[in-house]
Subunit: 207 residues, 2 copies
DNA sequence: TCCATTATTAACCATTTGGTTAAATTTGAT
DNA sequence: ATCAAATTTAACCAAATGGTTAATAATGGA
């Protein structure tokens, strides 16, 4: 059973979480079935409630873990004193690598936040969010030194995440419109590891 | 009742579709409830089945309409003989304007395709998709004339859609991380109508 | 070894939900 | 005005689903 700090995970609890991730990631909260999670974990359905009380609570446990896997990637940009251009390359590379291996993760988070905005709001309000302030300072200093043009850091982050994350989130649509199979899609994404940093650096760099 | 070509829509049928859109867009297929749609349309639940047979069929009717509202936007890029740079500005402007007024539409489509990839695949296979071939030719010619650098048209489209669509699709996450309220978000999006074309043109233009 | 606590199971339950049906009402062509 | 077809309603149904419970088994400290 879980202790007060909700940190001790028994084997059963772990296997439930693993199964719940699988099902929630793929189907989302609404379409996921407790019985399917139980089957996936080879366990009695009552155990899900024994360890997590309710479907909602189990979902929240999965969601918080998902978020904590994804959020640290942003710190490649936000909390690192490497030069800006290097950080951009690092972020794009590590994000694309990560999402290629965990394709359901970002989609899952965005999906659930969209379907239930209230849940998203209260969740974010109670999370330690990656802090962009250091990065904002870095951008401002680089602009002062004439290395890059002045740019709204929010638009910068938006551009970076958009270019990197969207193709995965809209994968179904993208592969449909561009008529890509799995191999072609992966090849394109691999290309983007170079292409995106070039594009962004080219945009902000003072020639 | 619907005729053979599924084109005649009675008032009742229209009001059902309108209500169904509202509910499906906001909640998605799995979380949507037939009773809620009926209530929204001020109509007896049996009417939903009388006109559309099943939840799945009603959903498909909504989905196809959603797709046909969104897909034509791509023709701003694909099927128009305007100069490339002008097309880019037109697309970004019209897309951002459209999605600001219809925030649930792209999210809805991407969401359902993600949750049910098989549905997405068969749907796209049976749709007249926007045809990128003309645009590919235009890009190739412009590159030959030395107006732009040679670029993979698929990457180009990917960049364009990513930068334009992602902030809306990930709105919940984006506003959470960047701590934006509704007004700030809209202002940023308005800015992007200029920013995105600049960025893309700057990337492909031969200096 | 004993026993209290914890973990696990199978059966069960109440509610929700998509869908049906039969009767009633409306519509419109003749 | 008549009547058959189309539309609408209220009541109903079976299956699915999240959740509970009471009995059983395993665990581990005294």
């Amino acid at each position: 059973m879980v202790n007060a700090l909700e940190m001790i995970h028994t084997e059963t609890e772990k296997s439930i979480l693993k199964a719940a991730k699988l099902v929630f990631y793929k189907k989302g909260l609404a379409a996921a079935r407790m019985q399917e999670i139980a089957d996936e974990a080879n366990i009695n359905k009552a155990m899900l409630h024994y360890y997590f009380r309710s479907k909602q609570k189990l979902f929240e446990a999965v969601f918080i873990q998902a978020f904590r896997e994804l959020a640290p990637l942003l710190n490649t940009i936000f909390n690192s004193d490497k030069p800006i251009f290097e950080k951009i390359r690092d972020f794009v590379d590590s994000y694309i690598t990560f999402v290629t291996d965990n394709p359901y993760l970002p989609t899952f988070i965005i999906q659930e936040v969209n379907i239930n905005p209230h849940f998203g709001k209260t969740f974010f309000a109670n999370q330690v969010m990656p802090d962009p302030s250091l990065f904002q300072k870095q951008l401002a200093e680089a602009a002062e030194q004439g290395i890059i043009r002045p740019i709204d850091p929010r638009q910068f982050v938006l551009n970076l995440i958009s270019l990197t994350a969207f193709p995965f989130i809209g994968k179904g649509l993208v592969t449909g419109i561009l008529e890509l199979d799995e191999t072609a899609f992966k090849a394109l994404m691999e290309e983007r590891k170079k292409l995106i940093p070039e594009m962004i650096i080219n945009t902000i760099k003072v020639q």
